[in-house]
């Protein structure tokens, strides 16, 4: 029997960063195939290639044994491949039927929407979903929106369904229900590929599993015969010998996070009694599968989002979790957020302005009446040179014109210009090439030498392992385990997935 989907020798790079390097994927017809790997392993990229969203730099795609070239997602759907993305693509004020009609065009609206309604009813009945085609999608729960996405793809007559981390947004019960549905769907002949981090899901629901690491396919196995330990090892890789480093004297506690909780506006609890402390001269790494509260923790620490309860205590400032009074936390805390253009830079303003804004209160750039622009430009030029920010013709150019790595260097230059006591870095090397990444790590280690207390939140386990003195593993909004350097990679990997 020929393969339903075969990807071979797929290469893809973005701005010089290699995301996929000779990746291979084979799925048989009518099977549930799990795609397992850490963040950044290339799972989503590979599936985006299969769904026609990314054109690969090299490699071949074959459907039912016949080679195809996909010009886009619509073309992929013509070939019977459909994908449900992690972030749903629904037009919020439209009804379910309208959204599905939008993705499956008909010549006339009136007759088309009738047809679509019938198709939704039939498809939903088959899957056991309870979907009202007349509901507006912004009134649906996340799980219901996901069902709409699945129906949307299936109504288009898709035979290969790709789900990108479908269970990440669901509760346990919802996830089980979804995966059972997927199993039934596969029995009726549809090939289902789902991307996941969770071993239990693979063991319980998948007929086959492909493991990716660092843009490459590591193995394809039968999850019934492979042990959880084997899967973990293949996912996280072998422990590399950690470089020796100077032991800093055990400093006093600079940052204490106590019983921090945060519930989103929709009621979902993202942080639940998160507690840890960081000493001077120490890097505290927070590892975990993304979506387990790391983003919310970072936002609470840097002051972008107020926690529901709990304390964030900084030496010399006291509890700053709710304080809007007194000096801003930026006086003692350097913030290197994951989303640079959300929390670190104003893209429409100049590099000099972006550099100077965090220090203007100190009076370094003139008194309140007159801003000293010459001093700002001078300092910004020095910082751009010191931190090797590339692509700067003038410090008056907009910050938005910088590439990811250089924007990050600018943020770090600004945040470290104050010699902060505490540093919070969230995925500081995301989207950076190897050289920029090394430069960022060097800066973090230099801050550690200087005696700063550093919180490093990252989904990249290698980054955490190579930099951290202590590591906390975060799952479901809490720290579930702590490890001291040199930490056991396998043990951390297990802690990350066992509680998930």
């Amino acid at each position: 029997m020929s393969l339903a989907l075969e990807l071979a020798g797929i290469r893809k790079s973005f701005d010089g960063v290699v995301a996929l390097n000779d990746a291979v994927f084979r799925a048989r017809p009518g099977e549930v195939h799990a795609l397992l790997g850490e963040n950044g392993a290339g799972k989503s990229s590979l599936m985006n290639v299969a769904a026609g969203l990314y054109a690969p730099d090299a490699g071949t795609i074959a459907i039912d044994g016949a080679p195809v070239s996909l010009s886009g997602p619509a073309d992929a759907r013509q070939h019977g491949i459909g994908m449900v993305h992690q972030h749903f693509k629904l037009v919020k004020p439209f009804t379910v039927a309208e959204n599905i009609l939008l993705a499956n065009r008909r010549r006339y609206f009136r007759s088309g929407i009738q047809e679509i309604r019938k198709a939704i009813k039939a498809q939903a009945e088959e899957l056991g979903f309870d979907i009202d085609p007349e509901r507006r999608t912004d009134t649906l729960t996340v799980a219901e929106q996901q069902q709409v996405e699945i129906v949307k793809v299936l109504v288009g007559g898709v035979r290969i369904l790709i789900l990108d981390e479908p269970t990440a947004v669901l509760t346990d019960a919802e996830a089980d229900r979804l995966l059972e549905t997927i199993g039934r769907l596969a029995e009726s002949g549809t090939t289902v590929v789902f991307v996941t981090h969770k071993l239990q899901e693979v063991k319980r629901y998948a007929d086959a599993v492909t493991i990716m690491r660092g843009g490459k396919t590591v193995a394809t196995l039968d999850p019934d015969t492979a042990t959880a330990a084997e899967l973990t090892e293949l996912t996280v890789g072998q422990t590399a010998a950690l470089p020796a480093r100077s032991q800093t004297a055990e400093g006093q506690t600079r940052l204490n996070v106590g019983a921090l909780s945060y519930a989103r506006a929709d009621g979902r609890i993202m942080l639940k009694d998160t507690s840890f402390f960081v000493r001077a001269g120490e890097i505290y790494g927070i590892a975990g599968v993304s979506g387990n509260g790391q983003a919310e923790l970072a936002e609470a620490l840097i002051g972008a989002q107020e926690p529901t309860s709990g304390e964030i205590w900084i030496e010399g400032m006291g509890d700053i979790s709710h304080a809007a009074s007194g000096q801003p936390r930026s006086a003692a805390l350097a913030a290197i957020p994951a989303d640079r253009y959300a929390y670190a830079l104003a893209g429409g303003l100049s590099i000099a302005d972006n550099f100077a804004v965090a220090n203007i209160r100190s009076g370094r750039y003139g008194r309140a009446a007159f801003v000293d622009r010459a001093a700002m430009r001078r300092d910004a030029r020095t910082a751009v040179a010191d931190y090797d920010v590339q692509g700067v013709r003038s410090v008056d150019q907009k910050a938005a014109l910088l590439s990811g790595g250089n924007a990050q260097k600018l943020v770090i230059a600004r945040e470290f210009s104050r010699e902060p006591a505490v540093v919070v870095a969230h995925s500081p090397s995301r989207g950076l090439d190897a050289r920029a990444c090394a430069a960022v790590h060097e800066r973090l280690l230099a801050a550690r030498e200087r005696g700063a207390a550093i919180v490093l939140i990252s989904e990249d386990l290698d980054e955490i392992l190579s930099l951290s003195d202590r590591i906390g593993v975060m799952t479901r909004g809490r720290i579930v385990g702590e490890f001291v350097r040199p930490a056991d990679r396998q043990a951390i990997g297990r802690a990350m997935v066992d509680h998930a």
Binding site: P328, R329, S330, Y343, A344, V357, R367, A368, F370, V371
Partner: protein
Amino acid sequence: MSTPTARRFGRITLDMRQNLASWKQAAFLGGSLAIGLAISVAILAIAGIPPLQLASELAGVLNADSLRNTLVQAAPLILVGLGASIAFRIGFWNLGLEGQMIFGGIFAAAVSIHQIGPPSTRLIFMGLAAAVGGMFWVLVVAFLKIRFRVNEIIATLLLNYVAQYFLFHLLYGVWQDAQTAFPQSSQFRPFERLTDIGLGVNSGLIIAVVGVLVAGWFVHLSRAGFYMRFISANPAMAKVVGVPIQATTILVVAASGACAGLAGFVNVASQESRLTQSFADGYVFSGVLIAFLSRNDPIVVAVVGFLIAVLFITGQTLQVFYQIPFTMVQIIEAIIVIAVASSEFLIRHRIHWIR
């Protein structure tokens, strides 16, 4: 090849433009303005004013006597334009400029009626009181917005009516002019009026010019102005890097209200010399228009404010000699707004026709 941002509407496609040379931007703006003015002239022609006579009326506005009236009219318009533009710079949509003008006028009139302070400083006291009155009326909204996240557009707009009816309450009640029994306050004493200071320039214009210079310094040179740019460019980022968002917002909003309050003072103290029922009518729209046309730059506000004053005075003349309703002036204002807004659209998009 079409970019991913291209959109199709029948036989027309739209592309986003990345950048456009500034002379081309100016050409689009000038062209749109010309079209807007041409439409305005056409409408006036239909209403019974031949274009040639319109031209002579416009020229008449610029003779010495009318120029004085135009400058008197320009002062409150510039101040109200400043009030709008500095608040808009941080995305605080202050549509309560009329209400704040009214409270500026009421506070100034209160100083006159209760004879607060010696005659020599009375006028200064009235000006300060007017600024406080305008601030008071807008800070109510700033408080509601910061504390309870009340939308400032609705709150400021509706408070205009509250201010208007409070003014009626005073003018039909305790402040009604005993001599004429008209619903207006009694006339200010001579030393309580903004008078000419020579060369046909009214002292109200001095206040407006000083306002322009102070606002220009505030937004372009001061630290608060620097903060304002971050608050409008990226508030979430501004919060994280320690920009004092709340303090800056309150300061800017208070300044906006103070400008509107001063506009009220200049209007009542230089034109009618008394509080009337309708001294603030239509100013919120003019203020927003001036801020919009000047792209919120205080220095440009001075120029645009003057041009709108020319429009106002011409409108008044036409009203007297041709029985054209004053609403016509507002229609022309609206046409100009639409013309400028469409030039913005053309500056940001490229249009192709498919044959």
